[in-house]
Structure formats: structure tokens, C-alpha cells
Amino acid sequence: MSALPAERVAEIFVEFADTLVEEFDLIEFLQMVTTRASELVGSSAAGLLLADPQGTLQFMAASDERAEMLELFQVQSHEGPCQDCFREGAAVVNADLSRSPGRWPNFAPRATAAGFASVHAFPLRLRREVIGALNLFGSDVGAMNPADAGTVQALADVATIGLLQERAVRRGEVLTEQLQGALDSRIVIEQAKGALAQIHACSVDEAFDLLRGYCRNHRLGLSEVARGVVNDPRAYPDLMA
């Protein structure tokens, strides 16, 4: 069933690994993962769930509305191939929906009604960490051969590495920005303390009390007023008196 030429497969892999770009958009990326995954093995539709920080699967993306509906159903009912795959960290391949009412009593009839005959689920996993699952839906039964399953799993692995890297980078960016911001405001407060101490011929501690008192009375932020003072002390005549 792998109808795609090797060049196209390679292209898709590169696309999946390319998460460290300035304009990265998570939903767009996951949307691309679902459409490419179904393109790769010629399945009808695909959907993707990711675990939230509490470890509960949440809907993220789907290649069409039928898949979206079935993913949302799995999230709400805690039942279905994605849930099993996520819990066990192992792929579910070629599950025949007509034979699965025992396994997924609520999910299987809905998937059949949506026009699907088979379903596959692949874990998004790096070593022992499983961060979500990718669902593929087919209109035929038993059509996914082991080689295709291996390719889809490899693709899911690459997407997972990309996602985890992107998460680490984003966290790093947020926290370094926080650190720089907090340091900047500490520095400007020290500078303002010095300026006020010089103007009032008092100690820097007394200058800080003065600054803090002023900010409290006027309900203004310390670093905001401090910045104003060092830019132009005359902008705060009350503080200079």
C-alpha cells in the first residue's frame, strides 16, 4: 500500500523534524502530521491526541471532520484505540471495527457509522515517555502491512522528538526572558535608589523607602517609576521635593 515514492517519504520526514523555526505553530504542525501520515499509507483520515500536563489526552488535530469527531469522542469517553495505545505505549494495528464492539463498545459503532472499517493507533513516544497518540482510519480491513506500520511509527517518533525539542526550547525562551526581565527591573531600581540618594543626600536604603512609599501612594510599579526617575528625575517632582 506504500504508494509513495521514496523521495516523497524522505520529504515528509524532513518536514516532521523541522520544529525549531521562529514561526513554529503547534496546531499547524500537528495538522500537517495528520494529513501527511494519512497520505503516507493511503488511509482515509487521521487524528492526533496529546497528553496535557495532568497526563490526560486532549484533542489536537485531525485531517478531516469525521476523524475530529472520533478523536473528540475518545477524549470524552476515555475509550478507543488512542486511549489504549497511550496507556500501553504500544501501537494498535489493523483493528477490525466490525469485530471490536467488545473492546470499544461505544467507539466502534461510531467509527463504523462514519464510514471506517479499520483503525490503527501509534504512540507518540520517546524512550519511556509517551506524550500522545496518532490515529489512522481506513476504509478497508487489514490493509496495513508491517512495513507501512513501521514507517508510520518512525514518523511518529520523529514528530515526538521535534515536539519535545520545541517544548524545551519554548520553556527556555520563556524562562530566560523572565530572568532578563527580573534582572533589568532590579538594576533600574538600584540605579534609581542611587539617583534619589544623591538628590536627597540620604542613604540608599532611605532612598528606597522613599521610592517604595511613593509607588504605594500612587499605586505605581516600582520598576516603572524607577525607570522614569533614571530617565528624567524631573518627571517626578513629588519625589524630588
Binding site: 527556555g172 530572568l179 532590579r186 538594576i187 538600584e190 542611587g194 539617583a195 540618594a197
Partner: protein, 257 residues
């Protein structure tokens, strides 16, 4: 030894070395103490004389947060006083800067800094940006008092230490929360905070913009062979002040009383 080691192996090995480094109490605590420990682990693991970590912004170094030994803080401070040096270049470019012989090399690069560093016994200096992808937070400077480059293994291990240092700062920031700075960093930057207070005072004394006030303080420290911390303490304790006429005439002279 680095042959066949992945980056992750090296980072985890560097982390093990940091954890194994004895925690000598030098008054630091929290994230800053962990970074002191990391700097000491660097000097033990690779053949270098000293290691220092500076926090930086694109405006320059904010302050020294950790060192393998306090003597290297004075050396590190030269880059802040002179406004140039490997940490500036490493931070700006996001790449390591390797000067294996401070006395040789590119003549045009860091003329003032090189002379001052040589005077302080520095013969080689290597600067490594502390960064996650595009986000940069500081630089780790590694010094040698003999000329010579770093072999591949040392270089790989120092890069791993730099990655650990970045992780310590980022984790420390996460624990501190928005608006705060990682624990112990406040204390570690203490003398630099005094320099910022002095900067504010000199700004008013001279009636000049902030940047000019810091330039005067730096110049005074350099010309009188003192650390910026010493000069700042004098200004804050009011045993040193700057007169506007000095600024007009351009002479770098502080009036001491």
C-alpha cells in the same frame, strides 16, 4: 575519551561531576551556589585555571553570578569595565570564542582587554554562551594562565558544562517564578548592584545620562587600578564623588575626600 560519547552522555557526565564537587561554603546559596560548584567542577575536569559565569543582556554583562574562585571575579570584571572581551563576542554571536593565546592572535581584537588580561596573568580565555536555541542568558568564561588550546575532549566537556549551567539557571528561574530572580543570584550580584547604585548617584552628580555615568565609573576604576566594586563602594559611602567640570574637561578624575 569523548570518542563515541553523545552530547546527552557528556551533559549527564558533567552533571555527575558537578554533583560530586564538594560544597565548600563560601556564603553563596541556591542556584548561585550550584553554579559556583559547577565552575569548580570545570577547573577540576579540564586543564584550566579558572571558570566564571556572567549573566548578560544585549547591553552587556549584568553581573558575575558564580566563579571557581573569587580571584577570577576581578579578571572577569575587566570585560565589564572595558566594555569588550570574549564574553561580549560570545554573547552577541551565540558561538564559543576561543583565544588560546591572548598575547598573539588578531591584533585588532580587544586591544584594551588583552593588555589588562595579560596584566592579570591570563594567557588563554575561552567564552561559551549559555543559551537554549536563540534564547541567551549569559556566558561562561574559562581562563588559563598558560597559553594553549583546548583538546576536543575538554572542549566537548566544557560545552556540556555550559549546557548544565543554562539548565540550572532556567530551572532556578522556574522555581523563583515570574518577577523574581533565581535564589542566591541576588546575593551573588550584590557588589554589582552597588555599582548600579553608584551609577545613579554619579548620573545626578554630573547631570549626564546613565550610560555616561557608568562610563565614568569604569574609566575611574581602570585608571586607578581598582575594581569597579571598590569604586562603587567609595561612591555609595560618599568618600568619592564626581564633579561636573571634570566631565566638561574630559579628565578622568574623581575627587576623593
Amino acid at each position: 575519551m569523548a570518542d563515541g560519547w553523545t552530547r546527552a552522555d557528556l551533559v549527564s557526565w558533567a552533571g555527575t561531576l558537578v554533583a560530586g564537587e564538594p560544597d565548600i561554603s563560601n556564603g553563596s546559596h541556591g542556584t548561585a551556589a550550584d553554579l559556583d560548584q559547577l565552575c569548580r567542577a570545570v577547573t577540576r575536569a579540564v586543564p584550566v585555571s579558572g571558570a566564571v559565569i556572567s549573566l548578560m543582556t544585549h547591553g552587556g554583562p549584568t553581573g558575575i553570578v558564580a566563579s571557581s574562585d573569587a580571584v577570577w571575579r576581578d579578571v572577569e570584571e575587566l570585560q565589564f569595565i572595558l566594555g569588550e572581551g570574549p564574553c561580549w563576542d560570545a554573547f552577541e554571536s551565540g558561538r564559543p570564542v576561543l583565544a588560546e593565546d591572548v598575547r598573539a592572535g588578531d591584533e585588532a581584537r580587544w586591544v584594551g582587554y588583552r593588555a589588562a588580561a595579560i596584566e592579570h596573568g591570563v594567557r588563554a580565555v575561552f567564552a561559551f554562551p549559555l543559551q537554549i536555541h536563540f534564547a541567551r542568558v549569559g556566558v561562561m568564561d574559562v581562563y588559563r594562565n598558560a597559553p594553549g588550546g583546548l583538546d576536543d575532549h575538554s572542549l566537548a566537556l566544557i560545552l556540556a558544562f555550559a549546557e548544565c549551567a543554562t539548565a540550572l539557571l532556567v530551572d532556578g528561574q522556574e522555581a523563583a517564578g515570574a518577577g523574581e530572580i533565581p535564589s542566591g543570584v541576588d546575593h551573588a550580584l550584590g557588589s554589582r548592584f552597588e555599582a548600579y547604585q553608584a551609577q545613579g548617584m554619579v548620573m545626578v552628580q554630573l547631570g549626564v545620562p546613565l550610560a555616561d555615568a557608568m562610563a565614568r565609573l569604569r574609566a575611574y576604576a581602570y585608571a586607578n587600578d581598582r575594581t569597579l566594586g571598590q569604586v562603587a563602594r567609595q561612591v555609595v559611602s560618599r568618600s568619592l564623588s564626581f564633579e561636573p567640570e571634570d566631565a566638561a574637561s574630559g579628565t578622568e578624575k574623581g575627587s576623593e575626600s
